[in-house]
Amino acid sequence: MTGTLAIVGFGLSTIGPGTATGLIFAAYISGVARQPEARSILQPIAFLGFALAEALALFGLVLAFVLK
């Protein structure tokens, strides 16, 4: 089975954004658990944080394809 080093590099680099997403949504769930009324206030912030963390994971994916 063959592969490229770029894909291995991308696989390793998803540790960061994966951890970040877990932390962000853990904080969101804790916040909503303490105070359920804050759900609609915290939701845009949670999604903003998630998209920013996801961006880095997707940079890695795109660069893995572009720089073979």
């Binding site: 999604f47 903003l48 998209a51 961006a55 997707l58």
Partner: protein
Amino acid sequence: MPSKLQFAGESIYTFIRNELGRDVIGPEFMRFVPFLFSLFIFILTNNVFGIVPLLQFPTMSHIGFPIGVTIFSYVTYHYVAIKKHGLGKYVKDICFMPGIPKPVYLILTPVELLTYLVTRPLTLSMRLFANMFAGHLLLLVFTLGGEYLLTSGLILKFLSLFSFSFAIGLSFFELGIQALQAYIFTLLTALYIAGALADEH
């Protein structure tokens, strides 16, 4: 009595005007609402083209389109800041932010300059491009995989059902991601404009 289409259009408009305009930008938000609304609808429509059945081409998955849209955001937030504060004061505020001890400027100034001039437009366009590219690639993998399984042995023909249904499920997930990316782009543009208009910076 407003019709359903009118209600949908008005609810999107009030969402942009309230959440992204008034809450993010502050007092002078009305003059930016047309720009933010056009940005949101343009990116959302172009993204949704990726799952329309016969079209299936998310425009933003070719790097030129996000670059084009980002140029609008970039020019806007710099122009707003220069028009409000003046060119000299704006550059001075980026390079030498007030209220920070002097030695920190050695690290802070290059980082701030790089952020304002390079990182912000780069990450804005790359985020949109990479999300649309990856989503389209994912849909392609499952659809073409299903087709390949369909043309091989008998047991694999059965597995192609799972592949196609996964492709359909992913299309709905992609709809959520596309709306989220349009919202994030518009929100970040509004945040940059708010930062440009802020007084204490």
